[in-house]
């Protein structure tokens, strides 16, 4: 070994953790919203994330669209795809959880194959969000990771404001907390489902774009993203949105820190052990309710 870990490393590492946490949160928020409001596990959510990344690839790398514009378009277009998916695939399946597992898994297979056929299996790369690094008091901080954090933060805040301040946002929160109670206020459950899938898909798309830019993208990246989303839900608490945010940050930062101190292998293992601990002792997570 021999290399000492300096302040720069630690700070970079924490920033990295926030960045990774941010992308996990973008995936996890959608997943937990859909779970709370529709009581289903959207197994194709990881593929939606992947689709978001590939849409940006298509627009930006293949057709020269500005990266940020491409990300924005991808968010909207993927949200629309989510709407279509909800209307065509999910809504007709009324209720049985297993049917949803089957249908969404089937969809995920189809999406994966579709992307492989359209783009080939190879790993690709998106251009950087902002190349180079800031020099903050002598510490070099990656600009693109900073941007990723900002984007994730803005979107999370936007979601929060939507849920707390708008009529439909409150209706969504209400639907998640008591479905019958929400029905009795005249809230249309189909509109709620449509909105939540659209929002969740849009957020996941941005997460995918960020991941694709900072790292890389391939048609099979969805599976891991999905698992991170689930992990975050377990840590942060089932049914809780602040829990999802906290869970994502904990996951991201702990992975990063443990990687730094104990090597990249431990960086993945220790959070997993954390998850096991949660699974055994506190299945409701940190903030879980329902």
């Amino acid at each position: 070994m021999g290399t000492t870990i300096g302040l720069q490393d630690i700070i970079q590492c924490i920033m990295n953790g926030f960045c990774m946490g941010g992308t996990y949160i973008l995936v996890g928020l959608g997943l937990t919203l859909i779970l709370s409001i529709m009581s289903i596990l959207q197994f194709a959510h990881g593929e939606i994330y992947m689709l978001g990344a590939f849409t940006v690839y298509f627009l930006c790398v293949m057709h020269g669209v500005n990266l940020y514009l491409a990300v924005f378009i991808s968010m909207l277009s993927t949200a629309v795809i989510g709407l279509i998916m909800e209307r065509v695939l999910l809504r007709p399946l009324k209720g049985l959880f297993l049917s949803y597992v089957c249908a969404t898994t089937g969809l995920s297979l189809m999406l994966q194959t579709g992307v492989v056929l359209a783009f080939s299996k190879s790993t690709k790369q998106l251009p950087s969000l902002w190349s180079g690094a800031f020099n903050v008091f002598g510490i070099m901080l990656s600009r693109e990771r900073f941007v990723a954090i900002v984007i994730a933060l803005i979107l999370t805040l936007a979601l929060y404001l939507f849920l707390k301040q708008t009529k439909y946002g409150l209706a969504m929160t209400a639907s998640a907390q008591n479905r019958e109670g929400a029905l009795m206020q005249g809230i249309n459950p189909n509109i709620m489902s449509a909105m939540v899938v659209a929002i969740g898909s849009g957020l996941a798309a941005v997460g995918g774009a960020l991941g694709g830019s900072i790292f890389n993208l391939d048609p099979y990246m969805g599976g891991l993203a999905f698992m991170k989303g689930i992990t975050l839900i377990v840590i942060g608490g089932l049914g809780s949105l602040p829990g999802a945010v906290v869970g994502g940050l904990i996951l991201g930062i702990s992975e990063s820190l443990f990687s730094l101190f104990f090597g990249s292998q431990m960086g993945v293992v220790i959070p997993l052990l954390l998850v096991i601990a949660f699974l055994i002792f506190k299945q409701k997570g940190l903030f879980g309710h329902d």
Partner: protein
């Protein structure tokens, strides 16, 4: 016995004969391999269905197979135990782990239980990958020991030097497992499970300890899943953890187990068996389609869910009609068509 029973028994007999003569009819090593894997998955899927009968969904199949595989492999590799001992022990180890996590897990509501089991499978996979000293890490274990030869009185000796022998091993063990699960389901205990699923308040009020029952089923199911994993390990002689869909220990296996159960029909014991057989054969039969395979597979899943939500087993409702049509045709013209 009644006509219906006679027919059922004949079908069962025919299936048994078919299964035992399969290696003779299909002299292709590759297909034998496929059948072995299908058989093992049938046991895992049937186990998962047993859990489902109590109203819970387990997505941890892959993890429990992994536990069974690694524990029995390591017991033989490091402690020199014979397969015939280490395989059941592997199952017991898996059952023990299931017992440990069962109690805390069942405290949460159904869908969250499913998530917890899904994550468990994932976690176990990664643990196997990182515990280098014990499990050989991501490279996995490679071993060249086989089960000790066993003599079945009157039939012959299995020396396990060809795939066919493993086929019979798998089939016999799977048959035993399925038989046990089937008998349990048909017995009073099976009724209890069903009652828990349907109306657990009611079940509780007549004195059934729901938690105990659910954990019991969970342990039993995981035992068989572990056994399946153990047999798998000794058959392929090389096990490694990987997250790709091709690897049996990836979480995809757990999801596929559910899919096989749903498309086969979760209302019947034989649903998952048929579902597993069919849906594992489809990728094999469609090899020619290469890259389009998952697309076809996914589309098929969606179609079945939409048009046959009760699963393929629903087709058997049509059997009496077809039977009657056949019989009537033989009786000559002027016969009324039956519906």
């Amino acid at each position: 016995m009644t006509r219906g029973q006679l027919v059922k028994n004949l079908i069962a007999l025919a299936v048994l004969v078919l299964v035992f003569l399969l290696p003779v009819m299909v002299r292709n090593d590759y297909w034998i391999h496929v059948f072995i894997i299908i058989a093992l998955m049938m046991l895992s899927t049937a186990s998962m269905r047993a859990i489902f009968r109590t109203g819970e969904i387990s997505l941890g199949t892959s993890g429990f197979m992994l536990l069974g595989a690694y524990s029995s492999a390591l017991l033989t590799k490091d402690l020199g135990l014979s397969f015939w001992i280490s395989m059941p022990l592997g199952g017991l180890f898996t059952a023990a782990v299931a017992a440990a996590i069962g109690y805390p897990f069942f405290r949460v509501k159904g869908i969250y239980f499913a998530i917890c089991t899904l994550l468990t499978g994932f976690v176990l996979l990664y643990l196997a990958g990182y515990m280098n000293n014990l499990t050989g890490g991501w490279q996995g274990l490679v071993f060249d020991f086989s089960p000790n030869p066993i003599t079945i009185p009157g039939i012959g000796t299995l020396t396990f030097d060809t795939d066919v022998h493993y086929y019979y091993l798998a089939v016999i063990i799977v048959a035993i497992g399925l038989f046990v699960l089937y008998r349990m389901e048909r017995s009073r205990i099976g009724l209890v499970w069903g009652s828990i699923k349907e109306a657990d308040n009611l079940a509780q009020s007549v004195g059934i300890n729901i938690m105990a029952q659910k954990i019991f089923v969970f342990i039993l199911a995981c035992f068989f899943t572990g056994i399946a994993g153990g047999v798998y390990a000794f058959y392929v002689h090389a096990i490694s953890p990987s997250t790709t869909p091709g690897n049996i220990f990836s979480f995809f296996t757990s999801v596929y187990a559910i899919l096989y159960m749903v498309v086969g029909g979760e209302s019947s014991f034989f649903g998952p068996i048929i579902g597993t057989a069919l849906f594992m054969l489809i990728p094999e039969l469609s090899r020619g389609l290469q890259m389009y395979r998952p697309l076809l597979y996914g589309a098929l899943l969606i179609l079945i869910i939409f048009f046959m939500p009760q699963g393929l087993i629903g087709l058997r409702e049509y059997f009496p009609q077809w039977y009657r049509k056949l019989v009537k045709r033989g009786e000559g013209p002027g016969t009324e068509a039956t519906r």
